[in-house]
Symmetry: C2
Subunit: 150 residues, 2 copies
DNA sequence: GTAGGACTTCAAGTACGCTTGAAGTCAAGG
DNA sequence: CCTTGACTTCAAGCGTACTTGAAGTCCTAC
């Protein structure tokens, strides 16, 4: 029933350091201690499972905390997290569109017979507008979780 | 024909600091100087267009440099970059699948009537295996460019 | 001659999700 | 008693793609 951080880490498939980190950022409630060491119950594992699920679904740790906060002090009951999930779904769909663009670009590039680098550049000149070049669109990175790939 | 970094930045839709950064990491050849200041020709803009295209297609700056290196010392001619692009296409398709999973998870979550947080955790217990939980899959992040979202 | 604006360099900061290292503590086993 | 192993804390590091700030230089215009 009760376990040390090592056991919990093993069962959750995480590193112990990750669990400490989750605690530090408020994703996991501070567990009981036995002579300094953390002692976790089964609900800690449940929590980690929910976190894993949310991560899989595309939520950042910060967002997951908001999700959890939404559970606690809620209006009707489960309205807040539903809002967040819906918003995330929109983000994910936008991301899917983005991925689709990538696929098209890659296939297009593979079809073109570019051999020389700077020739390609000249090629792009003609249709630079399509890439938003010169448009100086301001970096609004509202899609928090996709940072690595914008 | 010749321009300062400010003009180039404006035409490319980038910040001047970004251009300096590209030069620093070897994406842009060091331009000529006039009393200390960088002086760029039109090909610099071409280069930036190619870089923008590659970024759009999902390549990291490091990968773009490899792409460029491939152009220089090549075997048949344009074989190396084609290899990289093909590999990237595979990565992107994997990513698309990942996004699809996210969509499914989100929709599933929205369908479920979870009201209490820890109840959800118990729910997940039953099918934890599906998430790879407890499997301790080692973080092999070969999909360099998608880091922000794993 | 001097103010302004655009440029220069270099170091450090940003966000995210952890990991790693150093130094110390604790209980059990030989 | 002393080693071993698992734990503790705290600080710093990693990787990506830049941005920001400080301090200095340079040309032009007034």
């Amino acid at each position: 029933m009760e376990m040390t951080i090592g056991k919990l880490a093993e069962r959750a498939g995480l590193a112990a350091s990750a669990i400490r980190y989750y605690e530090e950022v408020g994703l996991l409630p501070p567990p009981a201690r036995a002579s300094g060491r953390r002692v976790f119950g089964e609900q800690a594992l449940d929590r980690l499972l929910v976190i894993a699920f949310a991560k899989e679904a595309g939520f950042s740790l910060r967002e997951i905390r908001q999700l959890f906060d939404g559970f606690a002090s809620d209006t009707p009951a489960g309205t807040r997290w539903r809002k967040l999930a819906t918003a995330k779904l929109v983000e994910v769909e936008a991301l899917a569109a983005r991925i689709d663009t990538m696929k098209h670009l890659l296939r297009e590039a593979l079809r073109c017979g570019c051999v020389e680098l700077d020739a390609c550049g000249k090629l792009f000149r003609a249709r630079a507008g399509r890439l938003g070049l010169g448009a100086r669109r301001k970096q609004r990175r509202s899609v928090e979780f996709a940072k690595g790939m914008l």
